[in-house]
Each structure stands twice: as C-alpha cells, then as structure tokens.
C-alpha cells in the first residue's frame, strides 16, 4: 500500500497504516507520531517524518529515506527503525527495547533515559557523531557510535551525565572531550566486540558500509562508575 502524505494529518496517515502489513508513505513532511505503537508490519517513509517517529513502537520495522526529527523511537518497546540520514534531538528517548540505526549523526541527548529489563535490551547505532548529553541518565541498553565520515568529535560535552546503567561504545582513537566523573572509560576487549558485532554488521548491511574496516578500528567502552555515583548537574536544591 502507498500512502501519499501530502495534505494529510498524522491521524489520517496512521489510520491507513494500521490496515496494511506493508506500506510506503510518500511525501511525508513533518507529520508526527508516524507508526506510533505499531507492530507486525514494515513501513517505508520517503520524506521528512515529524517528531516522535515510531513512538511506543511495538515490533514494526520502519525505514526512512531522509532525515528524521526529534524523539525518534520515543519509549519504543520492540521493532526496528532505520534512518537513511540523520536524526534530531533525543533519539531513542527512554526506549526500552528494539533497535534504532541512524546512518549519519544524531542531535543532542541521543539515548536519554534508555533502560533495559530482563530480556529487553534496547540498542541504538549511530553512524556519525552524537551531540552533547548522549546517554544522559542512561539506565540500560547499548549505544554504539561509529564516527563514520565526521569532522567533529564523536560525542559532545556531558556524555553519560547521570548514567547509571547500560554501555556506550565509541569507535575512535581518542575521545577528545571531557567526560563526567561518574563515567568510567576503558578500551573495548574481545568480548565487548563480539557482543556488538552483530549490530555493527546490521549497520553495514543497511547502509552498505565496510564491516571489516570498522571491526579493525579501536573502540572505547563507557560504563557508569558504581563507586562514584551521579549527584547533580543543574541546581543545588
């Protein structure tokens, strides 16, 4: 099924998507909540979907040819979002399951409040760089940043501020920015690379990148330091 989104509200688009197992949305421009809460279907979006693309996603696979805006996969539970472009702020906001792959870069606060529970392990792979506050208040899950085709630091300031669970993997020779005190950094070991190789392979498959080349590069692992827990950044109350 093809849905021409021109002139349509997000409600109208989603109503159509609910009736199909496979659908393509053409001329998408700013409509929010595309495929919100959906499961068991494949959706392709051509254009620029609005904020909260795939919010509460529950098993559907969304592929976007273009850039996405803020809060991609907000609180998603299961499924996959593949962005052939970049994303805005708060990508994967509070996601608790499923996978997000971004070919290029993500804005501020990628993976803020990600969490894991029992068999639920959310994964986000960013091909380029992340803005400041990546993994802010991260409680679980994994964020992988590959640093492909960038001329800026792979992460911005305050990465992992308030982090108390999960891991961030950064593909770079040096991190180059100051990290908050409660974040521990170490070089990735063989087991780490084995753990994330499947996700990197997926990235390379979706976006035709060179897995062998990426796998040979150096990765860091960021984890919360349980002996030096997060206190506060914003204000003293």
């Amino acid at each position: 099924m093809t849905v021409d989104a021109r002139g349509m509200t997000f409600g109208e688009i989603n109503e159509r998507l609910r009736t199909a197992d496979e659908a393509t949305v053409e001329n998408c421009l700013g409509q929010r909540f595309i495929a919100c809460g959906m499961g068991g279907k494949k959706i392709t979006v051509n254009g620029t979907p609005g904020n909260a693309l795939g919010a509460y996603l529950d098993g559907a696979e969304i592929t976007v040819y273009g850039n996405a805006q803020d809060a991609v996969g907000d609180t998603m539970n299961d499924g996959r979002i593949i962005i052939h472009g970049s994303t805005g702020d708060a990508t994967g906001y509070a996601m608790r399951g499923g996978e997000i792959y971004v070919r290029d870069s993500a804005g501020y606060r990628a993976g803020i409040h990600m969490k894991a529970y029992k068999e639920k392990l959310p994964v986000m792979v960013i091909g380029g760089s992340c803005g400041s506050f990546a993994g802010e208040y991260q409680a679980g899950g994994i964020i992988i940043v590959l640093g492909r085709r960038i001329n800026v630091p792979i992460i911005g300031n305050f990465c992992g501020t308030g982090m108390h669970g999960g891991r961030i993997y950064l593909c770079c020779d040096e991190i180059g920015v100051h990290l908050p005190r409660q974040v521990k950094v170490r070089p990735a070991e063989k087991e780490d690379m084995e753990f994330i190789s499947g996700y990197i392979k997926n990235y390379c498959m979706f976006f035709s990148d060179d897995y062998g080349e990426i796998a040979r590069r150096h990765f860091f692992v960021l984890e919360p330091d349980s002996e030096n827990p997060y206190k506060q950044l914003y204000v003293l109350n």
């Binding site: 421009l29 609005g50 805005g88 804005g107 501020y108 803005g131 300031n157 920015v177």
Partner: protein, 366 residues
C-alpha cells in the same frame, strides 16, 4: 475580563521560523507563513506573529510604530503624545483581512514618524534612546495603548490565533522583505493577549522565542536598572531588552552577546584555549545577571541581519539550512523543506553557538 500576562504562569511550547536573503532580495511574507503551517501542532492558537525587514522602503528613514489600542480614547491620548514628541509623516490603520479565525482585535494603527527636532535636542539623548524612552512611556503610562513595533524599515505583526491565520489576517503576502521571522505560541495556562504574542520588538531588534526562562526575575531586576520596564511580565520581553542593552548601549558584538546570555559552563570554559578562556570568563563575570537559564531557541531580527541561538544545554530544537544566498531557520526540518524543497545544507547548531547572517551589502541604505 481576560487575565493579562504575568497574572498567571505561562509555560510554552512554541514554533519559530526565519528566512534571510543575504543578497537582500525581496521575499513576500507568504513563504514564512507556509513554514508555520507545517508546524501547526506546535502552537495552540493563542498567539502568532511575524517580523519583516525591508518592508517599508518608501519610508525607510522613519520609525514605523505599530500600536494596539483598546479604545478610541486610548488612541486619542496616545496620538496626542506622539504628535508632541514626533513629526508624523503618515498614519493609517494597518490593513487587515477579517476572518472568523481572528477575533476580538484591538484597534491596530501604524505611524511613520521622526523625532521632533527641538524635543530631541532638548532631551540631550541620542535619537534611538529618545525613541526607546517614548515607547516605554506609552507602554507603561498609557492605559490601553501598546507600541509593539518601533524600528525603521521593519515591522512586527502579531495577534491571538494560529500563526498562519495571523499572517493572512495581516495580509503579509502583500509585503516584501529580505528577512522574516515568525512565531507560533503555545501558552497553556492563559487565554493569551495580543500584546503577549511574539515577536517582541524594540527599535529594529525583534525576538521570537521558543522556551521558558528560569532566570526571568534575575534578568528583569538587572535590566530594569537601565530604564527598561518589563510591562508584559513574559520572559521573552526581557530578552529583547537584554539584546538592546548589550548590543546598542554596551557595544558588544552579537557573538559576545551570545557568550553572555548563553554562557558556556565553567567546566566547558576551562577546556578552551587561554585567550578564549579569558574572554569567556570576563563576559560571564561582568554580565553574570544577564545569563539566561532554562530552555530557549530564539531568533533575533535586526536591521541587516539575523541571529539564531539555543540555550547552552540545547533544551529546544532548531535547525538551519541554506540554498544559494538564502538562509532558513526553524524549530523543525520540515519547515525548512517547505520553504525551500531543494534545500542544500541542513544542520543543527550546538547549544550556545550563535548562527549570525548579514546582508552582503547594505542595499539602498546609506
């Protein structure tokens, strides 16, 4: 009786957009209205507004006052004062297109004026300061009169309503300018008031703002020491006065102004090179009361240029795109693409990193 701004608290969501032709091309207001249409859901119909620059070439040497009046008597009183203080070259109602979507409009008048020569000399003020003081006088001393635009060759148009409806109401497709900014408002706890819509303007500075300033009262107390009066008690108004104070009266550059109002964290400053560290430390210490905290993305319009700025934590979204001599800025990428479908470079500036665009040449102005 509707409650005025300041009598209730107003958290806001909001949308901003701007476009700028570096070659000074004349662009109709229709393009910026389209940008607001696609971001409709960011507003709730309680405020929309626009600022256009280069729109009054035939009166470019005169201050253009746009004034709301709540009554004919307010207009009489205000016009008496304007006639005393200024030479009035032209006055008229601002033409509007009546629409069921825009209701309860005040009287909306426009004056092209020049300070009265003798009054200006006797005041011992420079011309711009003279204009600022008369605007503050009207807005604080005259019941039912509110000057919402006071620059040269620019104008603010705002109302209670959705921004695209406000644009049609003011017939902005009939104006042409090299620079436009726009705002859609989402106040959630108040009926909204025409004067409280954005942009907020003083002289040729205009501000549209998405966000909420936590430092409002600290900023207000400081800025009111310099003769400004925050008459609306909304956070955006104080930004306009801070910009006027820092740029026009103190002589800071826009880059320095950005380093004052969105100063980096001390931990970030520590990591900078020595010269940069000294510069940032000086600015933060000297103007500590003008640090604006809380989420904001703002567009500052001014004569011959535009600046976009996010708060240092970047708690609001803003994207910029370019195509030939055009620069487009908006809360959402979809708005850039609706203004220019074949837009070329799209990026999101970092928190506290100003994007400043200026005319390549001052077209027409001496």
């Amino acid at each position: 009786m509707l409650k005025r701004e300041g009598e209730v608290r107003i958290p806001s969501g909001c949308a901003v957009a701007g476009l700028f032709s570096k070659d000074g091309k004349s662009i109709s207001g229709e393009t910026i209205i389209r940008a607001m249409t696609v971001m409709h859901d960011r507003s709730n119909g309680l405020g929309g507004g626009f600022a256009g620059y280069g729109i009054y070439p035939q009166y470019k040497d005169y201050y253009a006052f746009h004034v709301f009046y709540e009554s004919a008597s307010a207009r009489e009183e205000c016009e008496k004062y304007i006639n005393e203080m200024y030479e009035v070259i032209n006055l008229s109602k601002i033409p509007v297109k009546k629409s069921p979507k825009i209701t309860n409009e005040p009287l909306i008048w426009r004056y092209f004026i020049s300070p009265d020569h003798n009054r200006l000399r006797d005041s011992q003020l420079d011309e711009k300061e003279y204009v600022v003081r008369t605007v503050v006088h009207i807005n604080t001393q005259m019941d039912g009169a509110y000057v919402f635009s006071s620059g040269k060759n620019m104008g603010v148009f705002k109302a209670v309503g959705f921004p695209e409806d406000v644009g049609e109401f003011y017939r902005l497709d009939e104006y042409e300018g090299y620079s436009w900014t726009a705002h859609g408002r989402y106040p959630t706890n108040t009926p909204g008031w025409w004067g409280g819509a954005h942009p907020f303007a003083m002289l040729d500075y205009s501000i549209v703002h998405n966000g909420e300033i936590s430092s409002y009262d600290a900023n207000r107390r400081y800025i009111e020491m310099f003769g400004y009066k925050c008459t609306l008690l909304t956070d955006t108004e104080v930004i306009t006065y801070i910009i006027d104070y820092l740029v026009r009266r103190t002589g800071l550059t826009l880059e320095e102004t950005a380093s004052v109002i969105a100063a980096p964290f001390w931990s970030t400053i520590e990591g900078r090179s020595e010269g940069e560290r000294e510069r940032l430390t000086y600015l933060r210490n000297t103007f500590s009361s003008l640090l604006i905290t809380g989420p904001f993305s703002i567009l500052l319009g001014f004569d011959g240029g535009m600046m976009a700025l996010n708060d240092r934590l970047k708690l609001r979204s803003m994207v910029v795109g370019e195509k030939d001599d055009m620069v487009y800025i908006a809360s959402e990428e979809c708005a850039l693409r609706v203004m220019e479908p074949s837009i070329e470079r799209v990026w999101a500036p970092k928190g506290g990193e100003p994007v400043i665009v200026r005319l390549n040449r001052k077209n027409g102005d001496s």
